[in-house]
């Protein structure tokens, strides 16, 4: 569309004045059997990720039994209340091939991108949430949202490319303001008045896009790519503006809560837990209000520096310096840290399961992919790196299972997730991580 015709079009649209449309409220949110919105649109599918740091103590983490009704060894005992909603994947491998084993980096990068990184600064490809968001994230205000429980804006396992990390929300108050500040359109508001400024914004954006086309000058390839990425972001804004001009579908489950308090910085495990739960609750409300369908929650970083009050070693240091207690079959303090992570994973899954939506819960229409950076952090092991999933993705996934991967690529779980989310790729992952084999045991 040429510049002039586009502007004429926008001007024409603007000539129609703002309309207020009365809409039915609350009683007609859903269809009769509660599986779809009243508009007939199905409840959307969501994709989430969750991550914890520094792996597991294999002897007290990996269940003896595979399949359903698996046993819950000590380190994952806190998962009992959510066992029916999750799957645990063990004995899956990530392969570094010719790349070095980069401590606390190779494991998560391979599971999130399918590719082994070559250096500890290297982030190859893009992460799975970005791929999925491109598919299912175009009809919401945010393509995806990321949050961290560490309070550190640098902590993220989500990136568009090596130089472009999706920075997480790190403060509950800031996250709340971003979600429910002035631009928030309550889907359950009785009337709908399109904001005339949104259309003007869109029109002004076309001016910016036209002017910036002149920027090509003598730029190197990398710099040109960075500016192109910015233009892509601007075009994506256009799409978000279009969304703001439509009445959002009502969402029964969307109830905006009060503004949260902010928290001090710090990585004391109890403070991290509190922050994780506040960020989780906000994220769930964002999902329920259909502000996003792709979401990343980060409990602890790969070099997790979470502390145990009164104990002199943060989590990462403890993994290397604490001796294995033969009787307990673990490093006791390291295991204490891992158990705190499992408490939080259980909280996260339970929160999704408890969040009512239609005749089910948010979890029923979601698939959550959870992983870590090492298997046995003490020696930087990545063999048999554990993973979880949660949610049945609208009935397409069986849950409550423990799957033994038999040494096959961990990327199979990512591949399964991509297919579930409608990303039609023939395979996923690079070199030995490449797979076109879904984890068929969990497919309903």
């Amino acid at each position: 569309m040429s510049k002039i015709s586009r502007r004429r079009f926008l001007k024409g649209t603007l000539n129609g004045s703002a309309v207020t449309v009365a809409l039915p409220f609350l009683n007609c949110f859903l269809n009769e059997n509660g599986t779809a919105l009243a508009s007939g649109a199905p409840i959307p599918m969501r994709f989430g990720t969750w991550s914890w740091g520094l792996g597991m103590s294999e002897a007290i983490f990996v269940p003896k039994k595979t399949g359903p009704n698996f046993d819950l060894p000590l380190e994952i005992a806190s998962l009992a209340p959510v066992q029916e909603h999750i799957n645990l994947y063990t004995n899956f491998h990530v392969f570094k091939d010719a790349a070095p084993n980069l401590c606390h980096h190779s494991g998560w990068v391979i599971l999130r991108s399918g590719i082994a990184p070559m250096t500890s600064e290297n982030r190859p490809g893009e992460t799975i949430d970005v791929t999925v968001a491109r598919k299912i994230g175009n009809n919401t205000r945010f393509r995806s949202l990321s949050a961290t429980a560490t309070g550190d804006v640098r902590d993220s396992f989500s990136y568009e490319n090596g130089n472009s990390v999706n920075a997480p929300e790190w403060s509950p108050l800031r996250f709340y303001q971003r979600l429910f500040g002035t631009d928030f359109q309550d889907p359950n508001a009785e009337g709908f008045t399109p904001d005339p400024r949104v259309m003007i914004r869109k029109s002004s954006l076309s001016v910016v896009l036209d002017d910036t086309k002149k920027l090509n000058r003598e730029l190197g390839t990398e710099d040109r790519a960075r500016l192109d990425q910015y233009f892509t972001g601007l075009r994506d804004l256009e799409r978000r503006f279009d969304l703001q001009m439509q009445k959002p579908d009502p969402r029964e489950a969307c109830i905006v809560t009060d503004k949260p308090e902010d928290l001090p910085t710090g990585l004391d495990a109890y403070l991290v837990s509190k922050r994780h739960r506040m960020m989780t609750d906000l994220m769930l409300m964002a999902i329920a209000c259909d502000q996003t369908r792709v979401f990343n929650m980060f409990y602890a970083s790969a070099f997790s520096a979470t502390t145990k009050p009164g104990y002199d070693k943060p989590h990462h240091t403890a993994t290397h310096e604490e001796a294995v207690d033969e009787e307990l079959q673990c490093q006791p303090n390291v295991s204490w840290y891992t158990r705190r992570a499992m408490d939080e994973w259980a909280y996260y899954v339970q929160a999704l399961a408890d969040f009512r939506e239609g005749d089910g819960s948010l979890l029923d229409h979601s698939f959550i992919y959870a992983n870590t950076d090492q298997s046995f952090a003490k020696i930087h092991g990545i063999e048999g790196i554990p993973m979880f999933s949660a949610g049945n993705a609208g009935g397409r996934i069986k849950t409550g299972m423990h799957i033994d991967g038999g040494g096959s690529p961990g990327c199979r779980l990512g591949y399964t997730a991509l297919r579930l989310m409608g990303v039609e790729v023939p395979s996923w992952g690079d070199k030995s991580n490449n797979t076109s084999s879904e984890i068929s045991e969990i497919l309903a």
Partner: protein, 571 residues
């Protein structure tokens, strides 16, 4: 330089015998000449595309529209990856995700709405509209032309102004509000890539046929972000517009004015905050069980104390950079007084540690000691690593993936870090790297994880003897003096400042000579920061464009040479 100083030493020895006085004078004359040695003829820096840092964005908005407006909006820029020692260098490589663009738009909307609100419009707008409820193209154009010039850091083309005036007019008609219309146009301006990216532009250099230089506006931006960490002001843009900035006299005048301005303090605080990796403080906390007196406010004060010390020493009093590592002069606040164990009053007051105090220089300040410790205990390794990476520009390799810690576990409970690390270093694959960091880190063990002084750890007296690259010492003062006299110390500051000024990591392939040149002049000028800033800003390297180099090559160069640097230091 090294060869020269060896020669001088040799001649000094000879001169003692009274035989070579003439030679000595000749050498000194030569050394005096070297002060005037010309800049290497081919020196130049690459064109860059830099994203504004969060602080640069806030400063720019603050200087154009006022601190209350910039303070009300969190800068919508992504965190940067520390690149060859500086976050600022990461800005030459970082990309902006769609999510981030959305945040830039939200910040733009918020800023624009505030600029035209009834509290600000009267003094931020140069004109009043004929009617508040109608479009006023003339007034809109005046505001947008003036503001756009400051945001774009160059004059706007009339076509650019008229496009934005059209937006303002249409929006004013639709909203029946001139100011709402203007804010929509300003929003558009604020999300332009030319505002959020600093895009260097080259032009042919008439003084050096066949070569290129930054155009005057790119040069103005480069100077301004270097010295003020903010966009150029009106006077600097005028100097660019008139062509003065491309004359020796005009450039000197502009740089002198910037160095004399109070804004140099803001600029240099930003640089040292970056160089000393003080972004760590954004997420730093100490275990309240072990360090109950350390709160978030204490740590914020520790960061501020060091920045005040640096600015006072280098800018206010124009002292030798190296003496920052031994100075006993600093500033004290109430919460820090408790941590240092010294009485103080409310607010920030100058403070001098007594001669018998273990505190002298930056390495003994709480900021360095606490930031490079764990939340629950000190870390000689982290401190040694920081000392080398931050102040000597050396890179300490990461630990190998297959570390065997069994020796440490079997050793049972040992009271001090020295003993823990000794056990640890029975493993040869660990010992290599720990030798680079631990001897100097262990000398700071008299300071716990929060930076408090202690004589003992777990009842054991601490042995703080150590060695820094060939200089052996017995106590903390020995370490600080060894650091002050380390041959890499001033070269490292030059490296970081040059990278910071030119907007990306240095290339050791291309920049080696020019860095040596700056380092020599820095020494000749008594290691005074202002002289170094002056030299860099007025150099050919700062303005001349190195053609045909991409940013990627620069990073490869910068990282590729680091191992050999370490090897040299080990020898």
């Amino acid at each position: 330089m090294l060869i020269l100083s060896q020669k001088i030493q040799h001649v000094f020895k000879a001169a003692k015998s009274g035989r070579y006085l003439v030679v000595l004078i000749t050498i000194f004359a030569f050394s005096g000449c070297s002060r005037e040695a010309p800049e290497p003829s081919g020196s130049a820096s690459p064109l860059r595309v830099r994203l504004l840092t969060g602080e640069q964005y806030s400063n720019t908005i603050g200087h154009i529209f006022g601190a209350d407006i910039s303070g009300s909006v969190m800068a919508p820029l992504p965190p940067l990856a520390r690149t060859d020692g500086l976050l600022a260098s990461g800005a030459a490589f970082v990309g902006v995700t769609s999510d981030q663009v959305q945040q830039i738009q939200q910040a733009a909307a918020s800023i624009a709405a505030k600029v035209v609100d009834e509290y600000h419009r009267d003094f931020l707008l140069p004109c009043e509209p004929v009617s508040k409820t109608e479009a006023d193209a003339a007034c809109a154009a005046e505001f947008l032309r003036q503001t756009g010039r400051l945001l774009y850091r160059r004059p706007m083309a009339e076509s650019e102004v008229s496009d934005l005036v059209n937006v303002a007019n249409t929006a004013a008609e639709k909203t029946e509000d001139f100011y709402a219309g203007l804010s929509m146009a300003l929003e558009g301006l604020l999300i332009s890539p030319e505002v959020v990216f600093i895009i260097d532009v080259a032009e042919a250099d008439p003084n050096r046929p066949g070569e290129e230089r930054l155009d005057a506006y790119s040069l103005a931006s480069r100077l301004s972000f270097f010295l003020w960490n903010s966009a150029p002001d009106d006077a600097l843009l005028l100097a660019a517009e008139s062509g003065e900035l491309h004359t020796d006299a005009g450039l000197t005048q502009a740089v002198d004015r910037m160095l004399a301005s109070s804004r140099i303090e803001e600029g240099m605080r930003a640089f040292f905050d970056d160089m000393m990796a003080f972004d760590e403080f954004d997420s730093l906390a100490k275990d309240p069980v072990i360090y109950p007196m350390v709160t978030g406010a204490t740590l914020a004060d520790a960061r501020e104390q060091t920045l005040r010390t640096v600015i006072d020493h280098l800018l206010t009093r124009q002292l030798d950079y190296r003496d920052l590592f031994t100075t006993r002069e600093t500033f004290m606040s109430m919460s820090l007084g408790a941590l240092y164990g010294v009485p103080t009053t409310n607010g920030w007051v100058p403070y001098q540690f007594p001669e018998d105090s273990p505190r002298s220089g930056l390495l003994t300040q709480v900021s360095f000691l606490a930031a490079h410790s764990h939340a629950v205990r000190s870390s000689p390794t982290l401190r040694g690593k920081a000392l080398r990476e931050l102040f000597l520009c050396q890179k300490v390799p990461p630990p190998p993936p297959d570390v065997d810690f069994s020796a440490l576990e079997d050793a049972g409970d040992v009271p001090t870090a020295r003993e823990r690390l000794k056990v640890h270093n029975t493993n040869p694959s660990c010992a290599g790297c720990h030798l680079i960091t631990d001897p100097m880190g262990l000398s700071l063990e008299n300071f716990d994880g929060a930076g408090r002084y202690r004589e003992t750890e777990d009842g054991a007296v601490l042995d703080i003897r150590g060695e820094l690259d060939g200089t052996v010492y017995d106590d903390i003062q020995g370490l600080t003096v060894a650091m002050r006299n380390h041959p890499k110390l001033s070269a490292c500051l030059v490296n970081r400042l040059y990278a910071y000024g030119t907007g990306g990591p240095v290339s050791l392939r291309y920049d080696r000579d020019v860095l040596a040149y700056f380092t020599e002049r820095f020494a000749a000028n008594g290691y005074r920061l202002s002289e170094l800033l002056h030299d860099i800003a007025l150099s050919q390297a700062f303005t001349a464009v190195r053609q045909g180099e991409t940013s990627n090559q620069t990073v490869a160069d910068a990282t590729g040479l680091i191992p050999s640097q370490i090897a040299q230091n080990h020898q």
